[in-house]
């Protein structure tokens, strides 16, 4: 006697079988296959014991609280090019202040105040740069998903611009003795360089995503960003 396979019985249980007369009639007449079906049904019903734990009544609000912190701010829809110029402007201002300190008469400059303003301008611009880099890297991580399309040309262009800005910040950070910040920016630049060159294949995108995750780059940027904001 030809018996249906285990696969046939699984499909039958899930209502996915091509319900031919053979299977139906066979089950009516074959005690062995009915027993087999009964065992499968019991195993699958035991799996139903895996019940997800209850969530609190305000669960949706709690999830939103976490998610909303990670969403890009609406003002970040400005052209990426502006950030490059913002970075350039910040560095230029730093240079101007530095130059002013050495060319203006000593009694017209309060070095402490000038230093404070200079750092403030740089930190605001740097904080913005870090946020933009996080948004882009998160996008790259998401594109490592096999169902996601490759990076768009606009995103690669954005990476190239952030790369240029990052170099300026790194040089400035190095000049003012912020070695740890300069090191992190250098790590970021290596990733931005790869993103700007456009990883096309899924393997390349997954590789890039793994690098970002293994280096904890998003976490590091977030930590530096919050530190910068506190000043």
């Amino acid at each position: 006697m030809n018996h249906p396979s285990e696969e046939d019985l699984v499909l039958h249980l899930y209502g996915e079988a091509d319900e031919s007369d053979f299977l139906r009639k066979h089950l009516e007449s074959c005690a062995r296959c009915r027993e087999e079906l009964s065992v499968l049904r019991q195993v699958l019903s035991e799996v139903d014991e895996m019940t997800p734990p209850e969530r609190p009544s305000d669960y949706g609000a709690r999830v939103w609280e976490r998610v909303s912190k990670e969403l890009p701010l609406p003002l970040k829809k400005a052209s990426p090019r502006s950030y490059y110029w913002l970075a350039a402007a910040a560095v230029l201002l730093v240079a101007t202040f530095l130059a002013g300190r050495f060319t203006a008469p000593p009694d017209e400059i309060d070095p402490a105040r000038a230093g404070h303003i200079r750092e403030r301008i740089l930190l605001v611009a740097l904080s913005d740069h870090l946020e933009q880099s996080q948004v882009l890297l998160l996008e790259v991580v998401n594109r490592g998903d096999r169902s996601a399309p490759p990076l768009a040309p606009l995103e690669r262009e954005r990476a190239a611009e952030l790369l240029q800005a990052s170099r300026l910040y790194r040089q400035t950070a190095f000049q003012v003795g912020e070695v740890a910040t300069a090191d992190l920016l250098e790590e970021l630049e290596r990733i931005l360089l790869d993103v700007s060159q456009g990883p096309e294949s899924l393997e390349a995108r997954e590789g890039l995503r793994s690098r970002i995750e293994e280096q904890d780059m998003l976490f590091k940027l977030r930590v530096l960003g919050s530190t910068v904001k506190k000043f």
Binding site: T51, R55, A61, D145
Partner: protein, 187 residues
Amino acid sequence: MKAVVTEDVLARARSGDQAAFRTIVEGYSRDVFRLAFRITGNEEDAEDAVQETFLRAYRKLEGFEARANFGTWLYRVTANTSIDVLRRRKRSDGRTEPLEDDAPSVGIAPSQEKMVYRRQVRERVESALSCLSELERGAFVLRHFEEMSLAEVSASLDTSVSATKQALFRAVRKLRKSLAPVEGSAS
């Protein structure tokens, strides 16, 4: 997932309205958690998957076609995100936490003996599920718990129907093998 937001909310969320997106998050969080938990097998990973799912959804929302079913689309994002979380966890430590002992059980006032038995079954089921590959687990969870058709499962997991069927067969075979010792031990 049942529809919990209106087309107007969806349209506003797609245009970048964060208040509208908040309505989506609050409306679907429980369903997303349930699916994420069943795929990842523990609360911590499920919570990570919930957060990552909504962040991915936010960024992909612009590409979502208004005529499609939003719940099905979000299912797809959740399933893929949960599988990614599961894959990352397996890669990092290969650890799967058992279900919490105090997880709520189904039924009313079961005897202590039955409660012990159910806990044992839950632990065995979780242990058995942790032995499945990501694809097997995803296919099984979506077909068995979420009652999606094989065609819907294959679309969600971005695989062929044939590959989905094979993954489901392998999953059932493994579960049967793992759960065999307790077959018929409770009635």
